[in-house]
């Protein structure tokens, strides 16, 4: 009874709510469906929301035809051809049999329609499969969960999910079997990230002890309208009691994700079907228009103009022809069907329309379809290239945009991200500084040397010069600059196969663990630091046993411990154990419990045992150090949780992190026995040497963002019980937040000294190309914390502008920090990066590196990958206030004033530091600009100058740039310089740049899939870019360019035009309408498709050896505007020959219309095919087959057609014409001489050009090695 009443009030509430939502339309209100009758859903407030059935198909059976046609008619060409076909139905101007005239249009439309239909059918099938998957939905009547199809789930339904199930809709998590009320999900299908993510139960249901009962649920959820932002969800839940709780993205499980590690969970559907975030994110394929296509469209326009001119010419001719007869109507001038006499003017107008039909072939109908087919084939071949396949990650190139393959051959600027693109994004902990003392980790460096491959072997070369390993150089020696010189000067790079193989093995292993290769995991601790750690921890243990205050410890020792604790806990690393991957390790009790219960579900994913033994071996080796003994002695302090000896287990822990830096740091800390053993939303368990396991109560995590460039955790320290903030972030920001004791006592001095020293080391690290991070901490008093907490909670619960508020809150927290230390993490260069850059550069590509990294790091990576050469002159632009001065005085030349002002000598001292101003253009220049300066440079008043400087530089390096700046730079260069740009990157921060560039390339590397999702092409490695551009790009471009020109040529051979002079401009055609219509569609279509797909003007090897050949495409040399006209003139000449040779041969004979027209058709076909043959540079059996097929098809069709019907095919009946012609010698004689005469000029021109060109061609010797067979110096013929 009471329940019912509640229900009623609910309904009332609902009505109110609905009114409100109607008014506001800003939020979505979700009620439980249990409260409403499913069958009659009039009063169900959720009924307006879309259900969970997805339909990604574009058409239904009924709508297919109209809709598809409608879509196809968006293409201008199709409309044009339909127009022409319809014109045929107008009696006064019909040139062909109207039905036949429809053939080409219908053919082309149906090819496209069939393609669309097939795609749509596949979509329909996959939709159906997805819609009919099962899920458990709570039934109102049976009071239990029932199996239902996905499509039956509705907003407001309760859904029970079990381990490894896939989420059918966006579900708000209400209950979980996990004791911590957590659910782990894998989001690989959404963003490609393989690490597990935690989602938690809505906080008001947290404390629910018993199982969640949907029938008792009666809260109302108010949340955002469906949107496609995966990383955002806001809303609140209102309970009956009136209590309101905030909902965050942490509470939402997204459709398409997989539940892991959690036995069971229950949630309510919030967004269903097409309103889920996953579906809203699912955009169709990208459509871009390539440069070549734009150029082509211009020429199609010219074709139209030529067509109109020809029609006009014919129309005037016809008018005059009519006029000359005056009133005397000759017998052959037939009246119009109505019997009306046509005046010359009127008949000229009619003729104009007729001529449009007759000359329709001039506009290449099939060009658009053919280009599409050829591009699909090209994409297929690019896909299949083994060189673009990466064995380590088992991934190959993906073409996500189908229609810009030829743009790859025309690139002029490359904008590259650094991290993950040029480098591996596999972080290796290299050195650290704690409390102003540097620990250089020599042993680690030595061990790393074992993994060295191509890139690093160069570094080794330089050790032979200097005698010592550069990494082991005494810390104080500031010789990084010199080192760089040596490194880049050593040109010889010898591969060491052994270490290479090892590296490979390592990376294959790394495939199984999320990110961490053994290289990253095994860190040989620095003995000095290790000793200190051990000393310190034993001290702490000792003090604790004697209940002494910990604060009495020497500050450097506590700093060390704090440093490692910060490394361990200030991150978002998820711990899992390798035996059961995806097995969350929480507290020991729960993990052991879970393990037994989840064995079946995780077994699916369990990794091969061989691998785990290997890891174990590694671990053993690792434990075999002197530390191992001490480790065995571990007292059990009172604070540890569940005193279970987890030594064995802990050794097998694996860390999965969203960014590889984090994992590297956690592994580094583990090497010092300070290991992360478990992470829960509110608690982090750390095992410390001697002290055993400590649980830190995790109060807040302020995640990393690119503006703050740092992250912080707020924990309650278990030993001191203080509220402690650990912050980790970029040195530039952290250093500003450090406060020094104002007092001038020894402590303050010491702090200052530490700060100074650390800054020194940081610079050193950066100069070494290491990624630096600063670690800091802050101890808060209870009061301070309380104050901050209040503001923070307000921010958290705010619905509007929550992000901004949280950001402010974080800023308030991260002040007055105490510096602990800094780390240097190495990000190794990818294989083959310097070579790739060198050859891309030889190919005439400008390479700009846009990175968010520090200037020093970026410059060093730039040297390492040969972007900057040691003898390059470097202009560095670092302006803050000067920029204002700069903008205030724009009249002064940018170069003259600022280049010297801001250039400090490049790290490797070049030839005597000269006055840069004068030698500006003599030296090769490199420009380095940082984010702040970039902001001024991108300003509209200065961008021209910036570009002017940048253009004169050989390489440009933008450091510390934000994603937005990256895209602005690309946009600026693209728009202002009118060049083709390519952006390559791997992370989410490169997405905007990738989208802006003409061609976006994503590296399917370590940092998720956002870049790949946004890209046009996705590559496994940076080095693949070389083959993609130099070989495939070149091929695609030259193939398509040649094909388009050939198409124009083929269609412009308009023999009928000449005939008009001999038929009174009456629009008559000597070529049978069938031949006329199918000539381009069938008889001459296949060979050019084959050539367009397979032809190789230069072999792949030569293209890679001679990157200069790429400039061919950059300068659009295969298809220049004048070439169109050359082609047209050639076509003009050839059509003249093809017309007048038969004309003269048959002049004043008894030949009839079609007996004369058929040889013309035949020899035009031969001419066109032989022309293609001359254009084809490589002949495979497919070319032969296609040409034979074309000729065979023509004769077969002709013979069949001419034999089929003696009375049909009005207006012209070619009965038995071909058969008779085949018996006439004259026919064969014509077919031999005409193509030769028609193609002679082309052959001669080619010869002359080649002789002329040889004079100013670049070094063609490798070319000639390939080509030269005769011993005579060959002349490469270029048409």
């Amino acid at each position: 009874m009471a329940r019912e009443k509640i229900g009623e009030t609910e309904v009332v509430n609902v009505k109110k709510q609905r009114k409100k939502t109607k008014k506001e339309h800003k939020t979505r209100t979700v009620h439980s469906n249990i409260l409403y009758d499913r069958t009659k859903g009039e009063d169900n407030p959720n009924r307006h929301y879309s259900d969970n059935e997805i339909k990604t198909t574009k058409y239904t059976l009924l709508s297919f035809l109209p809709k598809n046609l409608f879509e196809q008619f968006h293409r201008f060409a199709n409309v044009y051809f339909v127009f022409i076909a319809l014109l045929n139905f107008v009696p006064v101007c019909n040139a062909f049999q109207p039905q036949l005239a429809l053939a080409p249009v219908v053919f082309i439309l149906s090819v496209t329609a069939i393609k669309d239909l097939w795609e749509d059918y596949r979509r329909h099938r996959s939709d159906k499969e997805i819609n009919h998957m099962d899920c458990l939905v709570y039934s109102r009547y049976k009071h239990q969960y029932m199996e239902r199809f996905w499509k039956e789930a509705r907003v407001g339904d309760f859904i029970r999910l079990r381990c490894n199930e896939i989420l059918p809709a966006d579900v708000l998590l209400l209950s979980s079997s996990d004791p911590d009320r957590l659910v782990h999900i894998e989001t690989a299908t959404l963003d490609g990230e393989t690490n597990l993510k935690q989602r938690r139960v809505v906080c008001s249901f947290l404390d629910l002890d018993c199982d969640f009962d949907p029938s008792k649920y009666n809260s109302v959820i108010e949340c955002e309208k469906p949107n496609n932002d995966l990383a955002r969800f806001r809303g609140y839940i209102t309970h009956r009691s009136g209590r309101r709780d905030g909902l965050y993205k942490d509470n939402l499980l997204l459709r398409g994700c997989t539940i892991r590690n959690t036995e069971e969970c229950v949630g309510i559907v919030i967004y269903a079907g097409h309103e889920t975030k996953a579906m809203l994110n699912n955009n169709g394929p990208r459509y871009k228009r390539s440069k070549l296509e734009k150029q082509m469209n211009v020429d199609v326009g010219w074709c139209v103009i030529i067509l109109l001119v020809m029609c006009l010419f014919s129309a005037i001719g016809h008018g005059l022809w009519m006029y000359q007869y005056g009133d005397k109507r000759p017998v052959f001038d037939v009246l119009s069907p109505e019997g009306a006499e046509l005046s010359p003017v009127l008949s000229a107008i009619y003729l104009f329309l007729t001529m449009i039909i007759v000359f329709q072939v001039l506009i290449p109908v099939s060009l658009f379809v053919s280009i599409e087919i050829v591009k699909i084939c090209q994409v297929y071949f690019i896909h299949q290239d083994q060189d673009l396949y990466d064995e380590e990650t088992d991934s190959h190139l993906q073409c996500r945009a189908l229609n810009i393959t030829e743009d790859l051959g025309q690139m002029q600027y490359i904008f590259s991200d650094k991290t993950g693109t040029l480098t591996e994004n596999k972080m290796v902990f290299r050195r650290c500084t704690v409390a102003g003392v540097e620990y250089s980790h020599d042993a680690n460096a030595r061990r790393l040397a074992m993994y060295q491959d191509l890139v690093d072997s160069e570094e080794e070369d330089c050790t032979s010069h200097s005698g010592t390993l550069p990494r082991r150089d005494s810390v104080t020696s500031n010789q990084s600059a010199a080192k760089v010189v040596l490194r880049s000067q050593s040109t010889k790079s010898h591969r060491r196969t052994g270490s290479r193989a090892e590296a490979k093995r390592a990376s294959i292993l790394s495939k199984h663990t999320a990110f961490s290769s053994p290289m990253e995991k095994d860190i040989t601790p620095d003995p000095q630091l290790l000793e200190k750690v051990n000393h310190c921890s034993s001290q702490m243990t000792f003090k604790r046993f004697h209940s002494q205050s910990l604060s009495q410890l020497p500050s450097d020792l506590t700093d060390i411990i704090d440093f490692f604790i910060a490394l361990t806990i200030c991150n978002t690393v998820v711990v899992s154990s390798p035996n059961q991957p995806r097995q969350k390790v929480g507290t020991d009790s729960s993990s052991s419990l879970n393990r037994s219960s989840h064995r079946d579900c995780s077994s699916v994913l369990s990794s091969p045992s061989a691998e785990s033994t290997l890891t174990k071996l590694d671990e053993e080796h690792h434990l075999g150090g002197p530390v191992g003994l001490e480790h065995a002695f571990s007292p059990v302090p009172p604070h540890t949780t569940e005193g279970e000896p987890g030594a064995l287990e802990e050794g097998e822990l694996r860390y999965e992190a969203e960014s590889p830096d984090e994992a590297a740091l956690v592994y580094a800390a583990r090497a010092y026995k300070c290991s992360l053993v478990g992470r829960l939303p509110d608690q982090v368990t750390v095992e410390l040497p001697d002290l055993g396991k400590l649980s830190f109560e995790l109060l807040h995590t302020l995640g990393f963002d690119s503006t703050r460039k740092r992250m912080s955790v707020v924990v309650r320290h278990p030993l001191t019980d203080q509220i402690t903030v650990y912050t980790k972030g970029a040195d530039s920001v952290i250093m500003d937040l450090i406060t020094l004791p104002s007092t001038d006592d020894s402590k303050g001095k010491r702090q200052r000294k530490i700060l100074y020293k650390t800054q020194n080391y940081l610079n050193l690290y950066a100069a070494d190309g290491l990624r630096t991070l600063c670690i800091a901490k802050k101890v808060m008093t209870k009061e301070e914390y309380a104050v901050w907490l209040r503001h923070h909670l307000e921010a958290e619960t705010a619905i509007q502008g929550r992000e901004e508020l949280l950001f402010q809150s974080a800023l308030r927290l991260e002040i007055n920090l105490h510096l602990l230390g800094a780390t240097g993490v190495e990000d190794r260069l990818q294989d083959g990066v310097p070579e790739t850059i060198a050859s891309l550069r030889k190919a005439g590509l400008q390479i700009w590196v846009l990175t968010g990294d520090k200037q020093e790091t970026a410059i060093n990576i730039a040297y390492a990958c040969k972007l900057l050469e040691p003898d390059d002159e470097i202009i560095t632009l670092n302006a803050d206030s000067q920029a204002k001065f700069l903008s205030s005085d724009p009249s002064r030349s940018f170069q003259k004033d600022y280049a010297p002002a801001y250039s400090f000598p490049p790290p490797p001292p070049p030839s005597p530091s000269s006055s840069q101003t004068q030698s500006f253009l003599v030296h090769r220049l490199g420009l380095v600009i940082d984010g702040r300066t970039l902001a001024y440079a991108l300003d509209s008043s200065l961008d021209e100058k910036f570009l002017a400087v940048a253009r004169s530089c050989r390489s440009v390096l933008c450091c510390r740039s934000t994603p937005l700046q990256k895209s602005m730079v690309v946009k600026l260069v693209r728009n202002k310089l009118k060049v083709m740009t390519l952006a390559i990157g791997d992370g989410a921060n490169d997405v905007s740049m990738i989208q802006v560039a003409d061609v976006g390339v994503g590296i399917s590397g370590q940092e998720g899939m956002q870049a790949v999702m946004a890209s046009d092409f996705a590559l496994p490695r940076f080095r693949n870019l070389q083959k993609l551009l130099l070989v495939h790009g070149h091929w695609c471009y030259s193939r398509l360019a040649n094909m388009i020109l050939y198409f124009f040529y083929k269609n412009a051979v308009t023999l009928i035009f000449w005939y008009q002079f001999y038929c009174g401009f009456s629009g008559s055609a000597m070529i049978d309408q069938w031949y006329l219509i199918f000539f381009n569609l069938m008889f001459s279509a296949f060979p050019q498709l084959i050539t367009g797909t397979l032809d190789k003007d230069v072999s792949s090897e030569t293209l890679q050896e001679l990157p200069q050949l790429y400039m061919n495409g950059q300068n659009s040399e295969e298809y220049k505007p004048y070439m169109f006209w050359m082609t047209m003139i050639d076509a003009f000449y050839q059509s003249l020959v093809c017309f007048f040779i038969p004309y003269c041969a048959y002049a004043d004979s008894d030949v009839d219309l079609l007996t004369w027209g058929t040889p013309i058709t035949t020899l035009a076909l031969f001419t066109i095919l032989i022309h293609l043959g001359l254009e084809t540079k490589t002949w495979t059996w497919m070319n032969w087959v296609s040409i034979t097929f074309s000729v065979g098809l023509f004769f077969t069709v002709a013979l069949c057609y001419n034999a089929s019907c003696p009375t049909c095919y009005s207006p012209s009946n070619p009965y038995w014409t071909m058969q008779r012609l085949l018996g006439e010698p004259l026919f064969y004689l014509l077919c031999v001489i005409t193509p030769v005469a028609a193609l002679l000029p082309r052959l001669v021109r080619g010869r002359c050009v080649s002789v002329y060109e040889r004079e100013n061609m670049w070094d063609v010797r490798p070319y000639s090695e390939m080509l030269n067979t005769t011993g005579v110096v060959d002349l490469t013929v270029k048409y």
Binding site: T56, E119, S126, I130, I166, G284, Y325, P330, V331, F332, V334, E338, I376, C377, V379, Y380, H383, Q384, D385, Q386, Y389, D394, R400, S1068, L1094, S1100, A1145, A1147, S1149, D1150, V1151, L1153, K1177, T1178, W1179, T1180, W1181, M1182, S1210, S1212, N1213, Y1215, W1216, L1229, I1233, A1237, L1240, L1243, V1244, R1247, S1250, R1261, S1264, L1267, N1268, V1272, V1273, L1275, T1276, V1277
Partner: protein
């Protein structure tokens, strides 16, 4: 399971090509197959147009074309042809000036001419028209092939294409259309003037002048060769005709009606405005005497066909024929020309090649 579904969907739009071909291979390992086709390493012939290959080609073309051209030229010259333009002779000129479609009385005239050399073997007699646009678009279409093929339905109601020559006086025209309407209807007769002055009519054969397929397949009389007068009852003759279609050759039922060969020849529309059409054949005599001995002849013309309105001209042509058709020296000249040009270019390029080739050769060595 689900993941793969999503991926498949993802790729759907993006990579139809890969799905189409790569299917089985990609399941286990995405590594592309190492086949010559997929790696674009198909064995290929690279016709490099180098001096070594192009120069011989030029010479070969030249050497082949020139003899062919000479052969063609000689063959064409051996063909004997005589053209008689009737209008130039006064009586016929008068006829041509006065005659129109409305004239009722035929105008006759005779044209004397003489042969300088005897014509051996079969001689073909053509009539020629110039300035007659038989290829005009509307003219070409103005016929009904079904009617001409003996289709009775079409006979009664001809195709619309025949307009405005479809019906006259409410009766369908047979044969309909402008082509049929403008049938050439002059009669030509040839007489040999003996040295003693007497005229001998030369036998002109009117069978075998049309294509075999036209005569036997394409053109048929309705209802076979029954009484044509009955068959064509209810149809009207074309406007310009003097007699009905079944009166074209009353003497020979195999040459009457639609299958009259003169009619069939006319219906095969000429390609160019100046054309000739086969009119009669003068067969070779069984004995060794030439078909047409040299001497004087008279062409008797019954002038029925007005050409003045379009400034047309009529001709009569007597010609022998060779394997390559009638007399036309053009093809022979064309072959000789192209052959010579190729040969010449070959020589020029050889010289250029020697000059530049040597220079470049040394340049290569130097560098």
């Amino acid at each position: 399971m689900m993941a793969s579904n999503y991926n498949a969907k993802e790729e759907d739009g993006h990579q139809p090509a890969a799905i189409g071909h790569g299917g089985a291979g990609t399941v286990k390992n995405k590594k592309p197959d190492n086949t010559a086709f997929k790696q674009q390493r198909l064995p290929a012939w690279q016709p490099i147009l180098t001096a070594g290959t192009v120069l011989p080609a030029f010479f070969v073309i030249g050497l082949i074309f020139i003899p062919i051209g000479i052969g063609l030229f000689v063959t064409s010259n051996n063909i004997k042809e005589l053209e008689v333009t009737s209008q130039l002779i006064v009586p016929c000129y008068n006829c041509s000036q006065s005659y129109s479609w409305n004239s009722t009385k035929p105008c006759t005239c005779s044209v004397p001419f003489s042969l300088d050399q005897p014509f051996e073997s079969n001689v073909f007699m053509y009539y020629g028209l110039s300035n007659f646009y038989q290829n005009h678009r509307r003219y070409v279409k103005s016929r009904d092939d079904s009617q001409l093929n003996g289709d009775k339905a079409s006979l009664k109601s001809p195709s619309k294409e025949c307009e405005p020559y479809r019906t006259s006086d409410e009766k369908p025209i047979a044969p309909c259309g402008a082509i049929a309407n403008s049938l050439f209807n002059d009669t030509l007769e040839l007489y040999y003037i003996d040295p003693n002055g007497s005229r001998t009519a030369i036998p002109l054969v009117k069978k075998g002048i049309a294509w075999w397929t036209d005569k036997h397949v394409k053109f048929r009389n309705p209802g076979g060769n029954d009484n044509l007068t009955v068959v064509f009852q209810g149809t009207s003759k074309p406007v310009n005709w003097r007699k009905s279609v079944y009166e074209l050759d009353p003497s020979d039922p195999d040459n009457n009606g639609f299958i009259n060969e003169d009619f069939i020849v006319w219906m095969r529309t000429a390609a160019l405005p100046t054309f000739r059409k086969l009119y009669r054949i003068i067969h070779k005599k069984p004995n060794m005497t030439p078909t047409l001995p040299l001497g004087r002849y008279i062409l008797e013309v019954t002038y029925n066909y007005p050409v003045r309105s379009f400034e047309g001209r009529k001709r009569m042509i007597l010609s022998t024929i060779s394997w390559m058709g009638g007399k036309n020296p053009f093809l022979g000249i064309a072959y000789i020309t192209v052959g010579s040009v190729c040969f010449f270019l070959g020589i020029v390029l050889l010289i250029i090649h020697h000059k530049y080739g040597n220079r470049n050769h040394s340049a290569d060595i130097r560098s």
